[in-house]
């Protein structure tokens, strides 16, 4: 049931918004955010609490007024419209189902607001219930349903109106892990089936990487980086992104002629993408480092801690300058690693990224 919602590119340009805290100080919730989302993409807004991702979502929905910039949807400017006139719909974290109405009535509510004839309302309600696999529960009231069911109902209610963009505000946050994972798969399925642009807010990086076609990472109201999960993971542009997504080691030193020197280590044969600079920051993921001979040698490090993680070892080491290095190592090394001893460090140079 791939729906064609028409041209629904979402363009967010230079959007800023400030709040005043109780003491009167100004807090920038959104700081000059620019983001382009083509029709039908599943974009995840990711970041820690208070980073602005929910504020951006609410601004698109119309519950917050932006102070600067504009938001266009399908070529039309929407940031000056009241929420009920925008072709977007929201799935709230608390579901926000109308407690005095059944699921079917909840869904029908949105359609009735568009003055759609009764027959069509009924058929669309049935359609969308089938999409979320809730047809049997149509007459139930929200208080009679589980969290997962309420979530699907909220989803159905928002999708019934065939919005140009669906906004989801941490909808899976209240579900337990197992249910969460199955709902993530469900969401992907529904996304493919409807072809609607999905804008999904979360603070869980694993969720973000599982769901998003692209991820937009936010911190302190600023958009840090946008990219596919792979791009974000392997080539983070800022230290924040590097630390927020997965684990990383950041080495500081000098890069000259494809060689790095810093933090007591030397790395040669760097990729062409690494630029010469004095204050270079290299980022390396734990799986790109090794304690076994075979890749490029970089220098000596001292073993600080060894953590057994089931399928691998997480080894924390310190360079001569005291920089912490995180290495993902095979479990077989467990007996050979003694805390306090020095060991040789190896790196796969092709997986080294450079931070701005």
């Amino acid at each position: 049931m791939a729906e064609d919602t028409g041209w629904a590119d979402l363009a967010i340009a230079g959007v800023s918004k400030s709040f005043r805290d109780p003491k009167g100080a100004e807090i920038k919730a959104l700081d000059d955010v620019t983001l382009s989302i083509p029709t039908g993409e599943f974009v995840v807004l990711l970041g820690p609490s208070g980073c602005g991702k929910t504020t951006l979502l609410r601004s698109i929905a119309g519950f917050e007024k932006i102070d600067a910039g504009f938001i266009n949807l399908g070529g039309k400017r929407i940031d000056q419209l009241p929420p009920h006139k925008r072709p977007v719909n929201t799935v709230f974290q608390s579901y926000a189902l109308f407690p005095h109405m059944s699921v079917a009535e909840n869904i029908a509510f949105g359609l009735e607001n568009e003055e759609i004839p009764k027959d069509e309302v009924r058929s669309r309600v049935a359609q969308v219930l089938e999409l979320v696999e809730m047809s049997a529960l149509a007459e139930r009231k929200p208080s009679q349903m589980s969290g997962g069911q309420q979530q699907r109902a909220a989803l159905a209610r928002a999708l019934a109106k065939k919005p140009k963009a669906l906004l989801l505000d941490e909808p899976l946050a209240a579900l337990d892990l197992k249910l969460r994972k199955s709902m993530q798969i469900e969401l992907k399925r529904i996304h493919r089936a409807t072809g609607t642009t999905f804008l999904f807010v979360t603070h869980d990086q694993n969720e973000a990487m599982a769901l998003g076609d692209r991820i937009a990472v936010f911190n302190n109201g600023q958009l840090q980086q946008v990219g596919t999960p792979f791009e974000i993971y392997t080539a983070p542009k800022t230290e924040f992104v590097a630390n927020f997504i997965g684990e990383s080691t950041v080495l500081v030193g000098e890069v000259k002629g494809q060689s790095f020197n810093g933090d007591g280590l030397t790395i040669n044969n760097l990729a062409q993408t690494i630029n010469d600079t004095n204050g270079a920051k290299l980022i390396i993921r734990p799986e790109a480092l090794s304690l076994i001979t075979g890749k490029s040698q970089c220098g000596q490090v001292t073993i600080k801690e060894v953590i057994f993680a089931g399928d691998a070892l997480e080894v924390l080491l310190l360079t001569s300058t005291g920089r912490e290095v995180k290495v993902k190592s095979d479990v077989s090394l467990l007996s050979q690693l003694v805390i306090g001893e020095k060991i040789e460090l190896f790196v796969d140079v092709e997986q080294i990224g450079q931070l701005a």
């Binding site: 709040f19 805290d21 807090i27 919730a29 609490s49 208070g50 119309g62 519950f63 917050e64």
Partner: protein, 292 residues
């Protein structure tokens, strides 16, 4: 410290904002205007034959309240009115004090019961609240009268005295004191009390150093709900005090009724209003200080 940003919801979240207009109209016209008019009246002249007012500006009303001129033409402070005002304030203060002494322990006692008992006890406290003040005051007329129960049991006849008024007021306002304090007290975390006892504090210490400071908002609310109406009470002085000891309430009623001096009655009302205003503003200031 987590900075919670205030969600500036779009105004009119529950419905169109215009539906609040009737309320505002009512407020402005039927609450604001009466207060303004009564203030104006206090500066007007007493009408002929005592009824109503003549629209002429004068300070006569306030002069009558504060000063008096004796037969020799000597001006001095009019102690009659001022005594009444002072007496009313003293009475209201005493009533509030007793209500606090009785009400605070009662509220705490109820709040420490198990939930089902709490509901029953609060219902018991609330019932008198719903009985008409006239009936509740009359009950004391019965008890305190000549040949009333108390007299039969050997107590003196208390009816038609300031003691009767005092008892009647305390009786009427006790539920008003208990309920807001209870509302604060039921939110108390009992484990804090248990921790205090664990640390060796005596019962009195826990009560005064822990419980009471934690319920102080309820206490402030209770004080405001008792003191202000007690100041302007009319029914109890009229029925139980026999109007022998005049209080502000009875005095105002008198000026608008038998004595037919509306400007003076208005002036007294304005004074009462001013006293109320001072109390309200100081409690608000106290509240702001405590919350920041």
């Amino acid at each position: 410290m987590k900075l919670t940003m205030r969600r500036h919801s779009e105004p009119g979240i529950y419905g169109p904002r215009t539906v609040s207009i009737p309320a505002y109209v009512t407020g402005v016209f039927l609450v604001g205007c009466p207060l303004i008019v009564v203030t104006i009246f206090s500066f007007l002249q007493r009408g002929d034959f005592g009824s109503g007012v003549i629209h002429k500006f004068t300070l006569d009303a306030y002069r009558t309240v504060f000063f008096e001129t004796d037969l020799m033409g000597v001006k001095s402070f009019n102690f009659t009115y001022l005594t009444i005002i002072f007496r009313s304030a003293l009475l209201a203060f005493t009533v509030t004090l007793i209500c606090l002494i009785v009400g605070i322990p009662t509220a705490i006692w109820i709040a420490l019961q198990k939930k089902s008992t709490q509901r029953i006890l609060i219902a018991l406290v609330t019932i008198p609240f719903w009985v008409n003040v006239l009936a509740r005051t009359y009950a004391w007329m019965l008890l305190l009268a000549e040949n009333g129960l108390f007299h039969q049991l050997g107590a003196p006849i208390l009816l038609y005295s300031s003691w009767a008024t005092f008892i009647g007021l305390t009786y009427a306002f006790l539920p008003f004191m208990v309920l807001p304090i209870y509302a604060s007290a039921e939110k108390l975390d009992r484990s804090i009390l248990e921790a205090a006892f664990d640390l060796g504090a005596s019962g009195w210490r826990v009560l005064f150093r822990i419980v009471i400071p934690m319920i102080k908002f309820g206490i402030f609310a209770g004080v405001a709900i008792v003191f202000i109406p007690a100041l302007g009470a009319y029914v109890q002085p009229a029925l139980l005090g026999g109007n022998k000891t005049m209080l502000i309430g009875s005095l105002i009623n008198d000026q608008f009724g038998e004595s037919r001096n509306w400007p003076v009655g208005s002036a007294l009302a304005v004074l009462l209003l001013a006293m109320t205003g001072i109390i309200l503003l100081s409690t608000r200031k106290r509240k702001l200080e405590l919350t920041s």
